[in-house]
């Protein structure tokens, strides 16, 4: 089953994978058995010179790494302009990169240098030799396939610069969209690591919320705040589109979210344990965040309900009702569509993730393909598409950073909730503030955050803190966050921000600034 296809002009990269049943709980595709086929089918070359490579996920990652590093070296190679131009030649070691060679490269032969072949890639097909590239002058490159070698390809493939560019582009795109997704086969188990806790928390929260929502639904009819809740479609609840909620729709594209609110039964419905990781020896790409949906250690399965959730319930409340949804304040916005019946038909989404599921694991997960209308996603994602969580933040725009996507946002809030929120945050410490710096950061922004006129997006930043409490780096999540960074009164890098960190670790604090002036902070990770 082809999962994704990348087709720059001179190559075709096809990703195939099986979707794991865990996808339904992860809220995004989780794949296993990912494999790829890369056809270097530059139309300018005769068919006989077209090469097809195949491999698994690990091989794809090493190929991506090799190509990416090679390109970066090519661009940043140490011929800095001044010395290169002023004291030409002298400093540059003779080699394929030297200006001499570069000039000769304009005499560009596609034939592979056979001596190079003989010396460079002996027996690579039997050993796990990662692919690598070497320049052949300015315009040509040799891709040594290493263990990727195919019978017909031989150990080395000559690439023109355009081919290299297309290959790099395809691999980059793929890395951002597919390889970054969780894969069950390769993540080493991380017992009791935070990913696991988040899974547990997610289960807790979904259970709690479900209960809470069921209760709230009873009140929904009379509550004045139901203005923001979609009117329960009485005639045909199954078809009530989630974006019927005006507040949701404000930030969400009108992509029809097929998620009919299905009050789930999370407690009995604990996800089955995934198969144990097979490729634990795989070297994880550094850009890959920890898998969000780590296996649940069986010993802990019976009890997750009792654990306080580590995440916000979808209403975004930091202070209210962390333990259980029934404690929602009266004025709570109901942003969940009301119908209670499970969907009868949803062929594209056999297991829609209930709307109420707090989207915590995807927060750490990389670039999830944005929700697509089912018509599109059905063709482009033959796997069941990830059920879009309610995410008022630019759900159509792919996360700008390939490392950390913007938070899947919590449900929109109303003023009344904000008031509760504001009151609650006066206490300033919430159960989520595992370290004091988190509440200090919230205080900092509560004093300074003034939403700009007309801003509608929620801004999110990942702020890395130094041991001394100053800002080490700020990563805006998404375009809006980058655009508005000037208006946030964000401390500059190096500026004091919070108190010094006691344990010598560098916490990363996620700062969420909402257009209504609300501020949320929480600990992203502490390494």
């Amino acid at each position: 089953m082809v999962l994704k296809r990348y087709t720059p002009p001179t190559c075709t990269l096809e990703i195939t994978a099986k979707s794991s049943p865990l996808s339904r709980w992860a809220g995004q595709p989780v794949f296993k058995s990912l494999s790829f086929e890369l056809r270097l089918d530059d139309p300018r070359l005769p068919d006989t010179e077209h090469v097809t490579l195949r491999g698994d996920r690990i091989q794809l990652e090493t190929l991506h790494e090799a190509v990416s590093n090679y390109v970066q070296n090519l661009l940043g190679e140490s011929r800095d302009w001044e010395s290169n131009l002023n004291s030409q030649r002298g400093r540059i070691p003779a080699g394929p990169d030297s200006p001499e060679a570069a000039r000769n490269a304009v005499i560009f032969d596609r034939a592979v240098n056979t001596s190079e072949l003989a010396t460079s890639a002996p027996n690579t097909s039997y050993l796990p030799v990662p692919p690598r590239l070497e320049p052949r002058g300015l315009l040509a490159h040799n891709l040594f396939l290493g263990s990727l070698s195919a019978v017909e390809s031989g150990p080395v493939v000559p690439l023109s610069t355009l081919q290299l560019f297309d290959l790099a582009t395809a691999l980059d795109d793929c890395a951002a969209e597919v390889m970054a997704l969780p894969n069950l086969n390769r993540e080493p188990r991380q017992p009791l690591s935070s990913p696991w806790l988040k899974v547990a928390a997610m289960l807790v929260a979904s259970a709690g919320l479900t209960t809470g929502i069921l209760k709230m639904l009873d009140r929904a009819a009379t509550s004045p705040q139901t203005a923001t809740a979609p009117a329960p479609a009485p005639a045909n609840p199954q078809l009530a589109p989630a974006p019927g909620n005006p507040q949701l729709a404000a930030g969400v594209s009108p992509s029809p979210v097929p998620a009919v609110p299905t009050p789930p039964a999370p407690t009995p419905g604990l996800p089955p344990l995934p198969p144990p990781p097979i490729n634990t020896a795989a070297s994880p790409s550094p850009s890959l965040p920890p898998i969000a949906l780590a296996p649940n250690p069986p010993s802990n399965r019976p009890s997750p309900i009792q654990q306080p959730p580590l995440l916000f319930p979808p209403n975004g409340s930091t202070a209210s009702a962390p333990q259980s949804a029934p404690a929602f304040p009266q004025g709570q916005t109901i942003t969940i569509p009301a119908p209670e019946e499970p969907p009868i038909s949803a062929p594209q989404a056999p297991a829609p993730v209930p709307y109420v599921l707090p989207p915590l694991p995807p927060r750490l997960a990389p670039a999830v393909p944005p929700p697509l209308p089912p018509s599109l996603s059905a063709s482009r994602f033959p796997v069941p598409p990830p059920q879009p969580f309610p995410s008022p933040i630019e759900p159509i725009v792919p996360p700008a950073s390939t490392e950390l996507p913007p938070l899947e946002d919590a449900q929109p809030t109303t003023e009344s909730e904000d008031n509760n929120q504001a009151a609650a945050s006066k206490k300033n410490r919430t159960l989520f503030d595992t370290i004091p710096q988190v509440s200090e950061a919230r205080t900092y922004f509560e004093e300074r955050w003034k939403p700009p006129e007309g801003m509608e997006q929620t801004l999110e930043y990942s702020v890395l803190i130094d041991e001394n409490g100053s800002v080490q780096s700020i990563v805006p999540m998404g375009k809006a966050a980058a655009d508005y960074i000037e208006q946030t009164n964000m401390p500059l890098v190096g500026e004091p921000f919070v108190s010094a960190v006691s344990n010598g670790k560098n916490p990363k604090i996620r700062v969420v600034l909402r257009p209504n002036g609300r501020v949320q902070t929480f600990l992203e990770e502490s390494d």
Binding site: G76, F108, D109, R110, P398, A400
Partner: protein
């Protein structure tokens, strides 16, 4: 999301937001900035020469990317580029700070993206010329580019008289190939890292 359709018009690959955050994760040493200034000015010079981009287009992109605080007008842009220590006259006088350098990176890559089709064609022609063992000059697109680049370089840069036409051609072609990679969706990241890499040496 990128289209899965074979893209015959690579310019479609624009529209990615300026991933400022990717540039903020790694900051240069102050001592590296001089070098970075020179390189950025040259990247823009190559774009100017290839696509006949003027400061008007650069300012327009700055506005699109909400970089006006950094590059508000012609004067500001000029001062930024004039900070290149290789420049004649007041070269290097203006201090270019990191934020300004990042702005120029985003502007350069956005422009490269806008003109990706042209850049791609120029590189394809260059490959073709090389294959046929012909001088790049003999193709109009490349010849014009090299001429414009060399002339502008000569009129702006201090060290121009030390360089042979051959060397200027090499520089122009190397910059052309670099521009291709900067025109990709992650180009700004590549350029920023390349600037840092080069500045280290």
């Amino acid at each position: 999301m990128r289209s899965t359709v074979k893209s015959s018009a690579p310019t479609n690959a624009t529209g990615q937001s300026p991933n400022w955050e990717e540039l903020t994760q790694k900051a240069p040493e102050p001592t590296q900035l001089d070098n970075i200034k020179a390189q950025l000015d040259l990247v823009l010079l190559a774009l100017e020469a290839l696509a006949e981009i003027g400061s008007e287009a650069m300012l327009k992109v700055a506005a699109e990317l909400n970089l006006e605080p950094m590059v508000a007008d012609r004067v500001a842009l000029w001062r930024l580029r004039q900070s290149n220590p290789l420049r004649k006259g007041h070269g290097g006088r203006k201090k270019l700070d990191v934020e300004e350098a990042r702005s120029l990176v985003l502007i350069s890559c956005h422009l490269a993206k806008q003109h990706q089709a042209l850049i791609r064609r120029a590189v394809a022609l260059l490959e073709q010329m090389a294959e046929q063992n012909r001088e790049p000059h003999t193709i109009a697109l490349l010849g014009d580019y090299i001429d414009r680049f060399s002339n502008t370089y000569g009129s702006r840069m201090e060290d121009a008289e030390n360089l042979s036409a051959r060397e200027l051609t090499d520089l122009a072609l190397k910059l052309l190939i670099d521009l291709l990679f900067y025109s990709s969706p992650g180009g700004h990241r590549r350029l920023w890292l390349a600037l840092l890499d080069r500045a280290k040496n």
